[in-house]
């Protein structure tokens, strides 16, 4: 017993001093993207090849706790040299606190469209703190085999969509895999359905204050969401993200509304999947897709290796990097100039012609309560039938107005 303890103590001590010294600059790089570890390994290898004096270590933290881990480390005067940040409100929380290095003038950002740069710009000083990395797009996925077996063609309008759903339901198949247990999944679903009903101009109007969320267009869009309920799984109130995916991959459900990041997992599951934008309000109407900037790469202002870190950040703003992001991660890169080799990726980029901002994340996650909190709660209640579309819209509007 005593022996073991001594050995254990010795081991513990050994770990604490086992920080080897290298001649070159070593950069730490934190992320929440655990599924991307291998791809980042390749990307980093490419960077290190051109920068032999710099080593980058990519650490992927547990996604749910990433915020806490990062926040605590930064507030404690610690943290990595390079930070994979989220965008919009989440980014402001740390850039506003001065933990990030402003990038204007230090990094060539000309390859990135302004709309995306806005997602990594601190509103109070107008500076960019993070190089946008990729956009996500809300899509309606459908199982081609099930559609074929039931002779259903991908619906283009809302009425067709409803009819297809009813046909599937009659055939004993759950039309839509989505549930409401994880609030964010239903917000994502709303990103596919609602924009085509509240229209192209609504985002500008509501962000500029010309209208509010109790606008009749928004109420209509909400009531469309309520019509999804009968086509969702039995007990959809308790269906969480994992269950949704299990339903769709197992072929128990025919459609899945989700983000563009899902594609690799459908491929892994060997599914014959097609995707489309949300249905148009009426025949010939536009079919918009909601998109948002997923995050970016930033430099820790307190990093002792700021120059080397900036070097890496400059690398992330190059088309070369964007190409790797598209090839290896199947992401739609924020940096322009990459040519997608993947068909699906190309298709998504095409769909983005008709893009609209994913409304709550892009514009209403800066104050509390966030638009997302309000909308998710509202959608849950709307779909269970405990609140009407008017009530939900009124509550969202009131909540946004009261937010500070």
């Amino acid at each position: 017993m005593k022996h073991h303890l001594t050995r254990a103590l010795a081991a513990a001590l050994a770990f604490s001093i086992a920080a080897p010294v290298f001649a070159q600059t070593e950069l730490s790089f934190w992320s929440w993207r655990q599924e991307d570890v291998a791809a980042y390994g390749e990307i980093i290898a490419a960077f290190e090849e051109s920068h032999p004096d710099i080593t980058v270590t990519y650490t992927a933290h547990e996604a749910k706790a990433y915020n806490t881990i990062l926040t605590t480390a930064l507030a404690g005067g610690s943290g990595p040299d390079i930070i994979h940040t989220r965008a919009y409100g989440s980014l402001e929380n740390i850039s506003g606190a001065g933990y990030l290095e402003p990038l204007d003038g230090q990094v060539d950002l000309s390859t990135i469209p302004d709309t995306l740069l806005r997602g990594t710009t601190l509103r109070s000083d107008g500076k960019v703190y993070s190089v946008p990395f990729a956009t996500q797009t809300v899509l309606v996925y459908y199982n081609k085999d099930i559609f074929d077996a039931n002779s259903i063609t991908p619906p283009e309008t809302w009425d067709e969509f409803m009819a297809a759903a009813q046909a599937l339901k009659d055939a004993g198949i759950t039309p839509l895999a989505n549930g409401t247990a994880d609030g964010w999944t239903i917000e994502v679903a709303s990103g596919a359905i609602m924009p085509n009903f509240y229209g192209e101009t609504f985002f500008e109007e509501v962000t500029s204050g010309a209208t509010t969320f109790d606008d009749p267009r928004y109420v209509t869009a909400l009531s469309r969401m309520a019509e999804l309920a009968p086509y969702m799984p039995v007990g959809f109130e308790g269906v969480d993200y994992a269950t949704m995916k299990a339903l769709f991959t197992s072929g128990a459900a025919a459609m899945f509304i989700g983000g563009s990041w899902e594609i690799p997992s459908w491929r892994d599951a060997g599914l014959n999947v097609g995707f489309m934008p949300g249905p148009a309000a009426e025949a010939g109407g536009t079919r918009m897709v909601a998109t948002w900037l997923d995050g970016g790469y930033a430099v820790n202002a307190a990093s002792p290796n700021k120059e080397a870190a900036l070097e890496f950040i400059r690398f992330t703003a190059t088309p070369e990097f964007a190409q790797m992001l598209a090839d290896k991660l199947n992401n739609v890169p924020a940096v322009q100039g990459a040519t997608p080799t993947d068909d699906a990726l190309a298709e998504i980029i095409e769909l983005q012609e008709n893009q609209t901002p994913y409304i709550m994340l892009v514009a209403f996650r800066f104050n509390k309560p966030t638009g997302s909190t309000l909308l998710q709660d509202g959608l849950q209640q709307l779909l269970t039938g405990s609140k009407s579309a008017e009530e939900v819209a009124a509550e969202v509007a009131a909540g946004i107005a009261a937010a500070e």
Partner: protein, 315 residues
Amino acid sequence: MQTADYARAKRARARNLKLWLAFLLAPPAFILIVFVFLPMASAVLYSLYDWDGLVRKEFVGLDNFADILFNPNKNSILFNAFWNNVKVFTSLMVIQNGLALVLALLLARNPRGYRFYQVVFFVPVILSTVIIGFQWKLFLNPVFGLVNKALHYAGLSDWALPWLGLPETALPAMLLVNSWHWFGFPTLVFLAAIHRIPKDFIEAARLDGASEWRIAREIIWPLMAPAVTIIVVLTFIGSFNWFEIPYIMNGLEGSPQGSTDMLGLLFYRTAFGSVSAGGSDFGAGSALAVLMFIFIFIFSVIATKYLTSREVELS
């Protein structure tokens, strides 16, 4: 030897005793102060400042407290969470500790398999909350879950509900899971207390012709008061710090519609922010932590005092 020498010798003995006590208390006190009380004191300090997210601004006294308590936009969330914690405490007292009491009384009669039951009942206590949370989340799944499947087989399809998805059932389901996790602990504590009651008391009552129920209520129950004190206080503290099960099973937002929101979740969201609910605010988070601490501390002390006063001395 002078009188003064004797006095000095006595003082030396008293001083040695003090040194000995200091030797005993210093290391644990040091660890506790450095790793619990100092950080907590800093948290108290943090709560007195205005914070812009992660950056400390000016000293604002009790403004953060006033804000979370009296700002109508925020305090409804606070009160909802608090009320849920109250529900958790009362329900766990009834379900978890009630079950434990019944089992302890049964085991005290030394049934066949006595040892086996003791070990089995305690195994869930050993398992991590993560394991249990994930496990039961899957069991309660409306589509694949064993619970609903079992209900279907039993011909009770109407009873099959999306347990964790409905505001009415989510919290009760979690409470049952928590009870499943922990009931072995109070069972053993109660059983220990029953074993400590001298057998004569119970036998005398049995000879007097008292029913088992009467014996349980009038002899065993009052004499196991110290164990009850420990369990009530620990349940209280545990209930108001409840975090893991709701976090793992329904996430940080206390969904659906705040029905499983707890003070612990609210603190975490407020202090660190979350992807959906927005950025972090150390000031409000720390103020909430301080309020929780004060509340839990005061009530635990009062409860301990009250419960201890009704304990009966044995022998």
